[in-house]
């Protein structure tokens, strides 16, 4: 079966409910490109996830264009991971965070030697931000700076 056409589906839903059409981001320019320079087994990997993940003890995300980010230590106990997001069914993510925040998966691959190491922290945010401008001007540069400070070789991005 073909992949779900979410943009068309949401357009129909919003029209039916009388909401204004949602403005999806359409990039007009080709994406930038940075060549991979090291084998995975020698690389320091940075994880970024937008499923609203926070760790117990941190302030949770709010749902009104929260542009904050959270730093999750790479050795965080999985049982202390939480989610706060308004736009997806969090049932499975709250039962096993690895479905939107693959921290155990990545830790195991490091232990196996498949991945060199993880950055000291993973970085998370709540991806339901309706202002593309605020993502471009606030969230994206903040995350980019964290990855640069962490001196990662590659970045794995996990949206929901």
């Amino acid at each position: 079966m073909e992949p779900v056409d979410y943009i068309a589906r949401l357009k129909r839903t919003y029209a039916k409910l009388g909401y204004p059409a949602y403005q999806w981001v359409h990039s007009e320019t080709p994406p930038p490109w940075a060549p991979v320079r090291k084998p995975l087994s020698e690389s320091r990997l940075g994880l970024i996830a937008s499923g609203g993940i926070y760790a117990a003890g941190q302030v949770a995300f709010h749902f009104k264009d929260d542009t904050g980010i959270r730093a999750i230590p790479r050795d965080v106990p999985t049982a202390e991971l939480r989610t706060a997001h308004f736009a997806y069914d969090q049932t499975d993510a709250r039962s096993d965070p690895n479905v939107v925040f693959p921290i155990d998966t990545l830790r195991n691959l490091v232990a196996e030697g498949v991945i060199g190491e993880l950055a000291s922290h993973a970085y998370t945010f709540m991806g339901g931000i309706y202002s593309a401008r605020r993502v471009r001007e606030d969230v994206a540069p903040a995350l980019r700076q964290r990855l640069q400070d962490e001196r990662v070789d590659i970045a794995l991005l996990v949206p929901v």
């Binding site: 940075a34 009104k64 706060a84 471009r136 590659i154 996990v158 949206p159």
Partner: protein
């Protein structure tokens, strides 16, 4: 997240964006993507299936080197189930939660823990000192 991918890649760090919404990913067009045809909320696998989660991640990570052109998407060889009934329905109803402007804790215990943060504590890391 595609905007984040572009920002990070432009700074010289190769990125791989996982996705379960192919059309949204194609619209924002990140440098490299790996598409898993699963219901939203399962970008990296099914719950409590670590062997499957590992297999998905290995196929995805392969895209760091197998994708050679900007904007390519690797389709990961996994299906949620045989009949893919999850792809039907859903249209016409709004399942989102109200967009509250205060922190939305998963449980009351988390709210109490976070309330113990001091005004000077870092909101990014919480109790953790970076």
């Amino acid at each position: 997240m595609g905007l984040v991918a572009r920002e990070v890649e432009a700074a010289g760090i190769p990125t791989l964006s996982m996705t379960s919404a192919l059309d949204i990913t194609r619209a924002v067009n990140p440098p490299r993507a790996a598409f898993l045809d699963y219901p939203l909320g399962h970008t990296t696998g099914k719950p409590h299936e670590p062997a499957l989660q590992r297999a998905i991640m290995l196929e995805a990570l392969d895209a760091f080197t197998s994708l050679r052109e900007p904007g390519q998407v690797k389709h990961l060889p996994f299906r949620w189930d045989e009949d893919e009934r999850w792809k039907h329905g859903m249209a016409g109803t709004d399942t989102r939660t109200e967009r509250f402007d205060t922190p939305q804790y998963q449980c009351e215990e988390d709210r109490l823990k976070a309330a113990a943060l001091e005004p000077g504590d870092c909101p990014v890391c919480g109790l953790e000192d970076l």
